[in-house]
Subunit: 362 residues, 2 copies
């Protein structure tokens, strides 16, 4: 750990790679010899053009995307995508299938329903407090799309194998595990991801859209809610969130050049998750909240014997420069979010602390 | 000018106060002793709560807002506001009045019309290429609101006196002159402003809404497009653009504590504009493009005797560390954007260069 930095296990906004933060800091008053900050340059300038183009190219290379995918940067976070997806792809006479795996999927469903759209819940794990990923699905006939949430930050579950929807385009909220593992993108018509967990700061949402989806978009949507406007204008219809796109570019450069790509990242993420889950499973003191076959490699959720100990655990951890370990306010307990930027060193330090805390309080 | 910094006359994203950039840089890896970057802290944390609350309070103090106004931070820029305003405040049976003073007003009108809303153009200066602010209005009977664009960045015009719409709520796009002058906010039902000109980086839009407007909002709007959701959740319904809000807070702190408030800022802005307009009016070499009574104190637009000289002017200016002087691509010519963060020193340096350029090329 660097001086004055803590190990940050926040669920989002979350830790960013320290070398990326250092580069931002170094260039903050003079970006690439321009004599201006990244916050002061025109979005129509050559410098910013390079920034956004390179960020798009890195997304394509890192996810091994074919040329029929467009990379977009949109404001409003995943929460705006909950509305944009049905506005763009669910016409009045069609139905869309949604799988409900937790808080964010529930919100996505509610936003689609408030648009008076026809929604079929193809599966839900609500019966067991969303502690697992469903395996049985009740797909509707010829749905417009199937919507899933690839990783559930609050409940600590993750799709380890995506459902097989045949030719139905899948739409996925990958906010909390984009770029953390190799995925087969072919099945997806749209992938969206708020940046603030794995790839950047809050205020920018990455969207990856398959070209054939664009032809389905109705006319006369507000321009800022129309994916085809972003695709046509290369996300420069209006002033984009320049700082956020710049940081995404730097994080993806780090992922590509320092880590070695998504496959390497996946290996590291597996190691990190194994360290914590092995510790949790090794005794009775810590208890994982997600079913084992549905566990998330991004958000490790666990309980201690009682809430008093949980509070003590969180407070003592912070005293030891281990931050962000409180579970989501709706579920309580503890949670270690170990996105791409969480280092093995950070996870090992947490594991040591957990062992010591168990020795002292078990 | 500080080492490695240029005088930046960009139209937006635009210059930010150098002391603000320096503070961001200094704290970038460790915000307020948290051991985390501002990009890494939770939007539900105490630190961020302080940041957003203080930013809201500063907006209220600086604009002398009564308690019946709510301060909101929204993503999507002014361009999304072009759609949100009619979606929230223009029901099917009503008409809204719009005054068309240039490119951005035209876009606001087009977005409202694409929603199949009833729009009345109460006035337009399109007949003279938007080079003036209209004085005659053709208001409709009992409109839902009157929409204006307070400053027109591309044409270099500005409302020096707002139209009198009686009790009709005014909605104003103040993206390019918010906080640059004292305004009487009482008449406004909604003021919105993309941050990237006068108050912060791109990616966050300030909205100021009068409470009585909130009751008019229809049910079942997408949550991210519903002003009442922002008002109720204090702009924390979902993860906000934390970095942008943080920078706005610092810029407003600078405006309040270093400059001394909006009245003082207005004086400085008047001085800056006078320096350039006096120079332009002193001879035949430079010609202002806006009618004198409609001139903007934020965007000084002018032409040189021919386009060749304009190109030479822009290039030589940049060699002298004076950047961003090219007019908007749709109109050509030259433009000096002198928002709040442009210093008198910057404007005087530009004026000296302009005089010298005239001597050498006139």
């Amino acid at each position: 750990m660097k001086q004055n930095r803590i190990f940050n296990f926040n669920a989002g906004p979350a830790a960013l790679p320290t070398p990326v933060l250092e580069e931002i800091q170094k260039s903050f008053l003079d970006l690439a010899g321009s004599g201006m900050s990244v916050t002061e340059i025109s979005h129509r300038s050559k410098i910013f053009d390079d920034i956004i183009n390179k960020a798009m190219e890195r997304v394509k290379r890192l996810l091994n995307l074919k040329d029929n995918f467009k990379v977009l940067f949109i404001q409003g976070g995943a929460s705006l995508q909950f509305s944009m997806a049905p506005m763009n792809f669910l016409s009045g006479d069609k139905t869309a299938d949604y799988i409900n795996t937790g808080t964010w999927a529930t919100k996505a469903i509610a936003q689609a329903q408030s648009l008076k759209k026809n929604i079929n819940i193809a599966a839900s794990s609500e019966d067991k407090k969303f502690s697992y990923i469903p395996k049985q699905f009740n797909f509707s006939e010829n749905p417009a799309y199937l919507h899933i949430t690839s990783n559930n930050t609050i409940k600590g579950t993750q799709w380890n194998k995506f459902p097989d929807a045949g030719d139905i385009p899948m739409i996925a909220d990958m906010s909390s595990d984009i770029m953390s593992r190799v995925i087969d993108t072919k099945k997806f018509g749209l992938i969206y991801a708020g940046a603030q967990k794995n790839i950047g700061p809050s205020g920018v949402c990455l969207a990856i859209i398959r070209e054939d989806m664009l032809s389905q978009i109705p006319d006369n949507l507000p321009s800022l809610l129309d994916y085809s406007v972003y695709a046509e204008k290369k996300s420069l219809y209006n002033t984009p969130p320049c700082f956020g796109i710049y940081v995404i570019g730097l994080v993806l450069k780090w992922l590509e050049e320092s880590i070695g790509g998504v496959e390497k990242m996946e290996e590291i993420n597996r190691k990190k998750a194994d360290i914590l889950y092995n510790l949790i499973d090794s005794g009775e003191f810590y208890k994982g909240t997600a079913q084992k076959d549905s566990r998330s490699k991004m958000n490790v959720t666990f309980r201690l014997p009682n809430e008093e100990l949980e509070q003590k655990f969180i407070a003592e951890a912070l005293q030891n420069d281990l931050g962000g370990l409180k579970g989501h306010r709706t579920v309580g307990g503890c949670r270690a979010s170990i996105y791409n930027a969480a280092t093995i060193e950070a996870v090992e330090t947490l594991a040591s602390f957990m062992k010591e805390f168990e020795r002292n309080n078990g």
